[in-house]
């Protein structure tokens, strides 16, 4: 039976068919739906871990214990899981071990555009790269076979267009999922210098064996169309190349992007007058070609930035122009993402802006607090950095600056890596104010539960991390819970806590407006008789409020009735319908 499946869903199906027993991940676009789809399979233990490092370690433990295991993340998540990943390369696998990592060329939902293939090379771990959903499923199964056969973890590299495209997949059945024996094996499992020195030798031998495998493996395929032009490509770029060039060139499609073959590439190139390497982001395959003395056209003709397109490829390789089209005038307004109507973060940023505070920001829906008109956020680096970077800022600029400085961090992000920064502040005598934006969910990535929500990924009730006790336990004595929609009270709390000479945490508590449990009675409406057109309500950047011909109005199809505009209107000109 063939089904139309998201690349991510196909990875999950592949894991199921491969007899995987455990999946532990932390969400991150575009990887999230792999783990969400695992929930469909009752045979697999699945969880959201608090961060990627923990997730990878859980999977490693499962593998050592004999079960096939998986951990999935987005490209920047791999930075967080890098520590255990580099060392498990030495340990290898017992039950097959696969890390899926999804890159985001074009940065549809990311803070950078890093290329994960470098990690495969640096950690000496094989990496497969599927180009559609059918390959997602097949490559996942092959990854488990290779992992066990070569005693290694395996990477599967995805990209946004593979993860988030649906194509046809043949559904199969689950293989034997019996777990392997667990044997205590100190030289293999305890990575201290004396053992690791010996394991490193094996890792290098393994890479040589995998290169031999790459020369003949069914994942690396040649399509000889009798052309004098050759194209070496992988992943989604293969699909773009086929679309643009059809059968007019020869292809070497690399399903395994690390380690790369030598002879296969040399033989392929020898038959062509000109060889193009078509790969998004960094010149990873291109540099390998250069290293083995194969002359190719690559990044000089293409780009290091963003996504490739078939049109770009047709232009470079065949000097063919794209289809005739209408050209836009350049001045049409962009439509950037915004905080949703009813978003509790809007109230928080309204107050922070009003008080003129410097805001050390973090990653989540609330990053949008940097966008006009609120423009409240000063910095965004990576998950958790709002807390630690503010500590650094305060140490440089001193007490007075610190009294006008706050960190903002979501509940999921605080659990991910904010807590360690808070420990640092307390330990090293900081006096920062940290605002935890507790909207009871991991919003940005599409509503995943986390340790503060009291529910598991399967929706089962579980113990809930108590943020108040947690902050108190690390030594913060001033912990206040406040609803940001109670604008006046919230403003007073922020003033008081920033003025204090010791660390403080404000838990800004109000659930995400998109949660099913959140319902506000009635929609908001402008009473045109009372409206003085001061446009204060426009300053909160609610997408439901707009002005046409000088008249302010609220779009009922967008308003969710949260009432924030009502509480800030100085003339009581906004009412519930």
């Amino acid at each position: 039976m063939k089904k139309l499946m998201l690349g991510n869903a196909a990875i999950a199906q592949g894991a199921y068919e491969a007899g995987v027993r455990l999946v532990s991940s932390y969400p991150g676009t575009p990887s999230t739906e792999i783990t969400e789809n695992i929930v469909k399979y009752d045979e697999i233990f699945v969880e959201w871990a608090p961060n990627e490092k923990v997730a990878a370690e859980v999977a490693i433990g499962a593998s050592i214990a004999g079960g096939r295991a998986m951990s999935c993340c987005k490209h920047v998540g791999l930075n967080v899981m890098a520590d255990p990943v580099f060392t498990v390369s030495y340990i290898g696998s017992n039950g097959g071990l696969v890390f899926c990592v999804a890159d985001d060329p074009g940065m549809h939902s990311s803070q950078n555009e890093q290329d994960s293939r470098h990690y495969a090379k640096a950690a000496k771990i094989l990496m497969l790269e599927p180009s559609d959903s059918s390959e997602c499923k097949e490559f996942t199964k092959i990854a488990y076979e290779l992992s066990e056969k070569y005693d290694t973890p395996a990477f599967i590299r995805l990209s946004t267009r593979v993860s988030h495209s649906q194509s046809l997949v043949e559904i199969g059945t689950r293989a034997n999922d019996e777990i392997k024996d667990y044997k205590k094996d100190i030289p293999k499992h305890v990575m201290m210098p004396a053992m690791a020195v010996k394991r490193h030798v094996l890792v290098e031998e393994r890479t040589q064996k995998l290169i031999e495998y790459a020369e003949n493996c069914p994942l690396n395929t040649i399509e000889d169309n009798g052309s004098k032009i050759g194209v070496i490509t992988a992943g989604i770029s293969y699909m773009y190349a086929k679309e643009a060039l059809g059968d007019s060139v020869n292809y070497l499609k690399l399903g395994m992007v690390y380690p790369l073959p030598e002879k296969l590439i040399k033989d392929f190139a020898a038959k062509c007058d000109k060889v193009f390497v078509i790969e998004e982001l960094d010149p990873f395959i291109e540099e390998h070609c250069n290293n083995i003395g194969v002359k190719v056209c690559g990044k000089k003709n293409f780009t290091l930035l963003g996504e490739y397109t078939p049109e770009m490829i047709a232009k470079v390789v065949l000097n063919k122009d794209g289809a005739e089209r209408y050209e836009l005038q350049s001045d049409i307004p962009a439509r950037p993402p915004v905080l949703c109507p009813g978003c509790p973060h809007r109230a928080t940023f309204y107050v922070l802006k009003k008080l003129g505070l410097t805001v050390s920001g973090d990653i989540g829906c609330y990053t949008l607090g940097a966008a006009a008109p609120l423009q409240s956020v000063d910095t965004t680096i990576c998950m958790g950095a709002s807390v630690s970077a503010a500590h650094g800022m305060a140490k440089i600029r001193g007490e007075e600056f610190n009294k006008k400085l706050v960190s903002v961090i979501g509940d999921s992000t605080f659990m991910h890596s904010g807590i360690t920064g808070l420990v640092d502040i307390v330990y090293n005598k900081g006096a920062n104010t940290v605002i935890i934006l507790d909207n009871s969910i991991t919003g940005m990535t599409g509503h995943q539960d986390n340790p503060t929500t009291g529910k598991t990924i399967r929706g089962e009730a579980t113990k809930q991390t108590n943020l108040i006790s947690l902050c108190k336990a690390v030594g913060v004595e001033r912990v206040v819970v406040c609803d940001p929609f109670d604008v006046k009270a919230f403003e007073a709390v922020v003033k008081e806590e920033t003025a204090a000479d010791e660390p403080s945490v404000i838990i800004a508590q109000r659930p995400c407006a998109l949660l099913k449990s959140v319902k506000y009675e009635g929609k908001c409406k402008i009473d045109q008789d009372k409206c003085k057109k001061c446009k204060k309500c426009m300053s909160i950047g609610c997408p439901a409020i707009s002005v046409h011909d000088g008249t302010v109005s609220i779009d009922p199809s967008q308003c969710n009735g949260c009432g924030l505009c009502i509480s800030i209107c100085p003339f009581d000109a906004i009412v519930k319908e």
């Binding site: 495209s165 699909m239 049409i332 307004p333 439509r335 949008l368 599409g446 997408p543």
Partner: protein, 188 residues
Amino acid sequence: MNTNIMIVGVGGQGTLLASRILGNCVLGEGYDVKVSEVHGMSQRGGSVVTYLKYGEKVYSPIIGKGEADVILAFEQLEALRALPYLKKGGKIIVNTQKIDPMPVITGAASYPEGILDTLEENADLTAVDAMDLASRAGNIKAVNVVLIGILAKTSEIPYEKWVETIRSTVPEKFLDVNLKAFDLGYSI
């Protein structure tokens, strides 16, 4: 030759359900199909674009400029933004609703005038107040299925097949409203 359909709108308007219905519907006809969606950040009230391609063999899941046979637009400005993707002589089905993007709300930009005229000059245009039809069907959220209904009418796929797909794709509790919405679109 593949058929290329683009679905464009504003995050939160229900474009994903539209692409799911379309995808499932053409799937049953024995074609190769690819659907490319956008998840994550841009879904939060930003421009969203879904590509749907079907035919004998589909490689790239993305539709290039000048290659779309049909653009199904949930909002006027998004229709205009997508216009460069339309094939010469291609079809645009647009919901006449206007949603101000944030740069317009803040006054940094203004909402372009005369979009429907531009679309008319450059495409085979069907412009409908789909929100009105959706509310007549019983729920303003059914705009997506109204638009699918209009598209269905222009396709070779029979009416029954569309209805069957909606039945198997839409949750039971919204089925009546959606079937009504589909019919309102289909009978335009």
